[in-house]
Amino acid sequence: MSDVQTSPLDSLMADQEPVVNDFQIMIATVNGSGSQTANSTLLRAIFRMGVPVSGKNIFPSNIQGLPTWFTIRLSKDGYIARREDYHILVAMNLQTVEEDITNLAVGGIVLYPEEWKIKHKRDDVVYYPVPVKALVDESGTPSSFVSYVSNMVYVGVLATLLNIELEQIEYALNFHFSNKPKPVNMNMALVRLSYDWAQDNLPKNDPFTVERMEGKTDGMLLLDGNSAGALGTAFGGVQVVAWYPITPSTSMIDALRTYLSDMRTNPDTGEASYAIIQAEDEIGAIGMLVGAGWAGARAMTATSGPGMSLMTEFAGLAYYAEVPIVIWNVQRVGPSTGLPTRSSQGDVLAAYFLGHGDTKHVVLLPSSLEDAFEFGWKSFDLAERLQTPVFVLSDLDLGMNLWMGKLFEYPDQPMDRGKVMTAEDIQRAGEFARYKDVDGDGIPYRTLPGTDHPDAAYFARGTGHDEKAIYSERPDDWVANIERMNRKFDTARALVPPPVVDEVAGTEIGLIAYGTTDACIVESRDLLREQGIETSYLRLRALPLSDATRDFIRRCDRVYVVENNTDGQMAKIIYMEYPDLAPKVKSIAYLDGMPLAPRWLTRAVQEREQER
């Protein structure tokens, strides 16, 4: 997957026909050198010009000194998937510069500090040496600030080269620094200086340019998925958050803390209507959720693979004692500690079956900022309605990268607190039996601790119990309870967010995907169409699977399940659930730590089709 694409630039080199809003910038820096301000400023400035963008940060599991890359893709057609090739290299890391240049697309350009000696110069790319040090010196930036601002040099130079509007850069800096004039001015001074230097000294010798567009990004925002999920969580009315830091989920809790302290803290007293507790580990974190969920609070955590593994035993307890909790797993690459700063969809099977002994869970699968926001609040409704843990499987790509998205919609339903009986309800009903299927949907009624009625109390437990929650080892009690729980799981099928289906008449081929691979599928379908391969597409948004998915597979002649993991985990789940349809379902799965790329997928589907 990492092989370089021969790009349409080959020819462009010759006739210099402009490449407008359809290329990728790669900024190579050193971790800890503070390039985030510069990179997000660039991204946001271009976005402000109406150009669809996406930004991906490829960073090491380290604090300072190792290589880091940031890509900014411009796509006039609105594609936001990962692009494997890049055309503009901002080479700020001496360690990787040779390899970075090797992988640059033919006809691409390299910005680099002029004092560097580049050993093997390619003759099919353009070199722009930049006097970074001299420009910083000239700017008169106080020495203690130099390291903070010097990345602005490449922002200014790129602004000249690509025609990025300086006002938008200033806007973006204001955004970044919350309109604090001093830092904005100090950074902007260097941007202007570098801009001017490039205007005067850099003869443009390449076709790349940014042009203002209309109508493509209206009413859209630029955000990371962890923030979107956190915002949704805040609008879900979260009450208790217990967590333990782990990349790439930590920033979700950071964002949540910010939102909640803004929206749910009494500004006069400083008192909070929520609790955030940093636990001593993930067992502690999920344990706190189970206690809080049982007591009647909306409780959530965010973690990643290793943390979820530690939660296994408690997940089984929450499932079996029927306690609503919400667990976000922002997936990174596994097995084990794996690649903490790389993205995957590798925890699908683990989450679905987390726990021993026939445990199975409701899982939500966000693809976008909108999904992340929506599942932020909806996960609580589902958890409380179904009285069960709900897992939300995001990933590093969605969680930590900047995505374009539509403005979020305020929840269209009031909070669903599920079947909770008050003292009055018990009085009226004349009875309370914690695990009885009163309504035939498998979902029992519960009472909350503190309910002032002599019959309200029950003793929750992970051991076998009868309808009244009383310990029982009787075979019939066991079976009755498990059958009810399976009925509840079937109820869940109808309650969870249904798949999104784009069915094209006349095609035999179906694609099934979920989560962040959506961006890849969307672009890939267009590429396939260009190759004469028309596809229908079903995007899963949740487990357990619902009839819509079964029917989609039925209607297709063959289905490819596309996912960013090694073993084709969702395909396996489809096999398990629909053995009768299994022969027509094929897995296309790949994982190397990078989000799936549309060209790769297109090739993969083409190959499969040819093999037939």
Binding site: L289, P449, G450
Partner: protein, 344 residues
């Protein structure tokens, strides 16, 4: 004359739970009885209590008291976390946690210490018998060094001292007692109920079934023959609970266990021991360890340490009482946030 009721009109029976399935004579049953007695006596509303436990014989016992209180029999060693979450969700509830020495001292040591460090407002009782009762007699981490058990053999590791562990984790209330000393258990329970942070009660609670020596001839009445081989490991004799007589502050008292061995208790004299002096508390425990005694009584208390509600700056109303209007920010709030992050 009708049945006696307390100030809120409840009978003692209303504080009972289901019939105990623990062994006849198990110390844990005595503790359950004192919890029932104290809650009845103090006229505590049962619905304001939550009972929390891990896994073990001890952790089963909440099923056998306060049947009108909600309870959660959690996972082995993981009750502290669950309790923390429940109590943060509803600060009106009084949490009574019951754990065992295996549950707290072995698998649960980390959670226990972090709960203490957070000063989660609750009573945390360790029904300490030095063995794993429910899994039939292995040593727990609180077993005495040099102890021999019928099934587990010789213990060559030093014990974890629950009170010392609590102290090291900055506990705000820690006491030790003995299950057979009903009066002291009740007094300490009452004190704990009025404490605003974590109140750790380490209660020595003999396992009459498994805390038996194999070798000591003094232990069983049946002499050598029995000892040799007659025991069917599935046979569990029925014992009477072990009760201590009036035990005065300052006094040292040896309690005879069913196996004939003796446990030496020393009751703290509140006149001589200042329970707000932490250094004194460390010294007491260390000295008693050297002398093979168990200090009983209130070892340390700090009424000023902020509890977890305070350090998380929680509002006064229980979180679970908040309504949708309190919990879900308004549509305007969303617009405001979106306005800030939407750069168009």
């Amino acid at each position: 004359m009708g049945t006696r009721v307390n100030q809120i009109g409840l009978q003692r029976n209303d504080y009972k739970g289901r019939p105990s399935t623990l062994c006849q004579g198990c110390g844990h049953n005595s503790i359950s009885n004192q919890i029932i007695a104290v809650c009845y006596e103090l006229s505590i509303e049962p619905h304001r209590i939550i009972k929390l436990s891990g896994i073990g014989c001890s952790s089963k016992s909440p099923a056998y008291f306060l049947g009108r209180s909600h309870g959660f029999n959690a996972l082995h060693g993981r009750m502290p976390a669950l309790a923390t979450g429940a109590i943060m969700a509803n600060r009106d509830l009084t949490g009574i946690g019951v754990s065992g020495d295996g549950d707290t001292g072995s698998i649960g040591l980390g959670q226990f210490k972090h709960m203490v460090r957070r000063n989660v407002p609750m009573i945390y009782i360790v029904e300490n018998n030095g063995v794993y009762g429910l899994t039939k007699g292995q040593f727990s981490a609180t077993a005495d060094i040099g102890q021999e058990l019928k099934y587990a053999g010789l213990n060559e590791l030093p014990p974890i001292d629950i009170c010392l562990e609590a102290l090291a984790a900055d506990v705000s209330f820690v006491a030790r007692s003995f299950a057979g000393d009903a009066k002291q258990v009740r007094e300490l329970l009452k004190a704990a109920l009025s404490h605003k942070g974590t109140a750790v009660l380490d209660i020595i609670s003999p396992c009459v079934t498994f805390n038996n020596h194999e070798t000591s001839t003094k232990s069983y009445p049946y002499g050598k023959l029995h000892e040799e081989a007659l025991q069917d490991i599935t046979f569990i004799p029925e014992y009477d609970p072990i009760i201590v007589d009036v035990h005065e502050p300052g006094q040292v008292q040896a309690v005879r266990m069913h196996d004939g061995s003796h446990l030496v208790l020393r009751k703290l004299d509140p006149v001589k021991h200042d329970p707000t002096d932490k250094l004194a508390a460390f010294r007491l425990i260390e000295e008693a360890r050297i002398e093979n005694q168990f200090i009983t009584g209130l070892i340390y208390v700090d009424e000023h340490r902020p509890n977890l509600h305070e350090t998380t700056h929680l509002i006064q109303a229980p979180l679970v009482h908040l309504t949708e209007a309190d919990l879900r920010p308004s549509a305007e709030a969303l617009d405001r946030v979106l306005g800030e992050i939407c750069c168009q």
